[in-house]
């Protein structure tokens, strides 16, 4: 038993019982097997009541739908039960620490959800007359103001839909600015440790990608960067703090060298959470940086999205930012949606999305900003960094960190501690699931072997961090003492055991199909 009175020895009894009999239903207590929705429908059943439109002559030009769609009919209680049962098969930040490095899985304040659902925000159309949406434009302008102040950068594009979209916005502005001075250039330098979206974005922007290796301290190798910088380089794309969880301590030199070569300095701001309120990227010489509002500013990840990725710009790039943008004059807001042909000051590279950006995320972000204030945001960064360093301190004797010194908001380990144990990074991480945790990010970044990247965030209590440490130290001890049965094939206690990803990719089944009927089979 631990001090909360919970048994800490694996529930041998329970496990034994689990294996000892099959249930008649396939369910196991509170864990329900749930068929796909297409296997539950019945003809003539519906979960909404709609009036009968009656007979009328249509105006579809003869292009009516003739065939069945194939959707199942369910009532509301069935639909609720289906999705609630499914929801229970998910891990979530509301259930426990979600230490996915680089993802900033922090608490999502519920006030933000309430505010985003106010009809004055949720039920407003993007193409209503501007006179009827002054509050919405003011929200965009306020978020823009906060982001500019926090980053110390004067320009902004609010429309990008996520981080990767923000990268595209940033690089396109860079390319437009370079072409404007008759100097398109051909390539973008990206550190080896970069997130996959960085090279993918550079390629989408028509650039060749050249990788810059990390030095022994886990930072951009400045010497090599300097060698590679020449008049063919359009931009250097650096994540800071980087994906090893380290602050690029030579960032000012990187910026200077980049600028000296006539290139622009793009910063991937996915890890802004570590420095918000304490360091302004504008002071580091950054020319463009996206900010993942779904990371630093707590908008929920929603099982994959939506997010938002506004981009801040230095003065030189600001005129090239994506359309649209909001203008404020004496509390009167206007929306610039098109390039004014004559306007010299706007050289925007164009539009990146329909409408004006992720308003639902802006409302949540502003609510978060007002809740924290300048003082609270600074504490966010400090507690995030404190939590990660605390984990590092509590783990480093059994899990040597990949690099020396303090980390920022996340701690990077590699698989050295597993050498000679028969346990892989994957097995080790999956065993965490049996301990009740979501695994950390694994095999990323690519600069160390078998990476394990842990980002606790500032919204974990000390008890939560301590419990996570207990689990990790216990697993290390198990692995190193030869007690490795629980690793091979882990997890054992999750709604599903390890899934066959190879089979899934070999013959992909991407949709449900009705089972072949006996007649059809004949």
């Amino acid at each position: 038993m631990n001090r909360q009175g919970r048994p800490t020895a694996p529930g041998l009894q329970a496990q034994g019982a689990n294996e000892s009999f099959n249930t008649h239903t396939g369910h196991r207590g509170l864990e329900h097997e749930e068929p796909v929705i297409f296997e539950q429908g019945a003809e003539g059943r519906c979960g909404v009541d709609l009036p009968d439109p009656g007979a009328f002559e249509d105006c579809l030009g003869g292009l009516n739908r003739h065939n069945e769609i194939g959707l199942p009919g369910l009532s509301e209680p069935q639909v609720i039960r289906h999705f609630v049962r499914l929801s229970r098969k998910n891990y979530a930040i509301d259930l426990g620490i979600y230490p996915l490095g680089s993802c900033t899985m922090k608490h999502n304040p519920r006030l933000n959800e309430v505010i985003a659902r106010l009809p004055g925000f949720a039920n407003v159309h993007p193409l209503q007359p501007v006179s009827t949406v002054q509050g919405a434009l003011e929200v965009i302008d306020m978020v823009a103001h906060w982001l500019r102040a926090l980053t110390g950068m004067p320009g902004i594009a609010m429309s990008p839909k996520a981080g990767a979209h923000g990268e595209l916005c940033g690089l396109m502005a860079i390319r437009a600015a370079l072409e404007d001075r008759g100097d398109a250039r051909q390539k973008v330098l990206v550190p080896e440790s970069a997130h996959g979206t960085n090279p993918a974005t550079a390629a989408l922007c028509g650039y060749r990608v050249e990788a810059i290796p990390a030095n022994v301290r886990g930072r951009v190798d400045l010497g090599i960067l300097r060698e590679r910088l020449d008049e063919t380089v359009a931009a250097v794309m650096v994540t800071n703090p980087n994906t090893c969880g380290l602050f690029e301590d030579e960032v000012i030199e990187i910026a200077e060298a980049t600028h000296a070569a006539g290139a622009f300095f793009y910063c991937d701001g996915a890890n802004f959470n570590a420095i918000v309120g304490r360091v302004r990227p504008g002071d580091l010489g950054v020319d463009a940086m996206h900010i993942n509002l779904h990371k630093t500013f707590s908008t929920p990840h929603g099982g994959g999205g939506p997010g938002a990725g506004p981009v801040v710009f230095a003065k030189e790039l600001a005129p090239y930012a994506a359309l649209p943008h909001v203008n404020a004059v004496d509390g009167d807001y206007t929306l610039i949606e098109h390039q004014a042909p004559a306007a010299e000051e706007s050289k925007s590279f164009g539009r990146l999305t329909a409408f004006h950006g992720q308003m639902g995320m802006f409302v949540r972000t502003l609510t978060y900003m007002l809740s924290h204030g300048a003082d609270g945001l600074c504490k966010v960064a400090e507690d995030a960094v404190l939590g990660a360093n605390y984990l590092l301190a509590r783990l480093k004797d059994v899990m040597p960190p990949s690099f020396d010194g303090p980390c920022m908001h996340e701690a990077l380990f590699d698989d050295r501690f597993l050498i000679g144990t028969d346990v892989t990074t994957l097995d080790f991480s999956k065993a965490l699931i049996d301990e009740g945790f979501h695994p950390m990010t694994m095999y990323f970044p690519l600069v160390v072997h078998g990476a394990l990247l842990i980002e606790p965030t500032e919204t974990e209590s000390r008890d939560s961090l301590d419990e996570f440490v207990v689990a990790l130290r216990g697993l290390v001890a198990d692995a190193q003492s030869g007690n490795t049965a629980r690793f091979a094939g882990a997890p054992y206690l999750s709604p599903r055991r390890r899934l066959d990803e190879t089979a899934a990719a070999r013959a992909p089944v991407l949709r449900w199909s009705p089972p072949a009927t006996p007649e059809a089979a004949e």
Binding site: V36, C59, G61, R65, I69, P72, L74, V79, I80, K89, N90, A92, D94, R117, L118, P119, G120, H125, Q128, P129, A164, H165, M172, G196, T197, A200, A203, C205, F247, I252, G277, R278, V279, P300, H301, G305, P306, G350, R351, F355, M359, T367, S371, A374, D375, G376, K379, E382, L386, N389, H438, E458, R496, L499, D500, E501, A505, L510, R511, W512
Partner: protein, 449 residues
Amino acid sequence: MRYLPLTDGDRTSMLAEIGVDSIDDLYADVPPSVRLDGLIDLPLHQGELEVERAMKQLAAKNLEAGAAPFFVGAGAYRHHIPAAVDHLIQRSEFLTAYTPYQPEISQGTLQCLFEYQTQVALLTGTEVANASMYDGSTACAEAVLMARRVTRRKNVVVSGGLHPHYREVTKTTLRFTEGKLTPCPPAPDGVEDLAGLIDGETACVVVQTPDLFGNIRDLQPLAAAAQAAGALLIAVFTEAMSLGALMPPGEMGADIVVGEGQSFGNGLNFGGPNLGLFATRQLYQRQMPGRLCGETVDADGRRGYVLTLSTREQHIRREKATSNICTNAGLCALAFCIHMALLGEDGLKRIAQLNHKAAIDLAGKLQPVPGVEVLNKTYFNEFTIRVDGRADRIVESMAGQGVLGGVPLSRLCPDREELADLILVAATECTTDLEMDQLAAALGKAVAS
């Protein structure tokens, strides 16, 4: 600070455990010259009550769709969202989960995605769909990039009936790549010779139905022409609800079908977030952008789901990936999936009919208004009217009368003087007879003045 669990006591003891004196020591790698010594000049933290008050004041400055007769569409539509949808998407396990990288503890999200992909394929009349894109416009641009990969050709023909935002986003996305984009001018009657623009270099033709002006397009001849020339047909829709009433684009021969799915389960939200639907032939599934969820089995042989074909994606393929997308529109896809589950076969068909009927009734009420002409012969729930006068001024004047009366084409195509007297007007299942009468009255007044 209510969201920060660490106490000052915790902080002190944690610093001691780390072996440093102060938090500043943990920022030792930040060059001293750029460390801020004070707070940034922004307001200080506030309690829930104060924040709620401030945000409510901002919300009150907007005229929300439910507070006025409302006819605005052009790519975002007001529909009734059943209460169950928002309840379910606020379940912590859906709302606060990350992308399902660990399938053993993400079967909830994954099975929903599998169901969503199936629904999208069924609705669009295609074989496979992905797990969502940011919105219809970016899905459109990604479809063009995919068509280029599939055909290994570069040029793109774009219908004048494609939503101007979609056209612009596609143009921006292609801006720094090789190849020619040939846009047709917008034609309010929906008549244009796209087939005549296809040649041996054409990768794809992009056409929207219902088109920008609301006209319903028969894609079959164009699909045949594209196919004959070795090009792909990309069919776009901005109103997914129309798929409940219309012959699906896949059935008409489209190779890639993309569009905006906001109408199902997702509110207007001033235009974001929204939901990009993306569907195609199975033959091309390995060329698709974005996440894909696939069925498999676990170590015990039980059915389960995983993200699959990830060797297309940026985290594996980096600069050779099919797209740079990472975060997508997961929760919006879930909302779509739940709304679709509630509707089912009968509900979807019926709600589509209700939308169509509302538009027919509205057209009937607007046609007699002096100075107003309904242009469309075909439409679903949105059509174009020509007014005597400048459309933007008339829409503004109606707003002054408390009526949100539609979208002036000049808002979308400011450089097209010939469209300056056109307004797009949409009606949905939410539109009442009374509101239609109010629009007719406001429009009559605005045109006359």
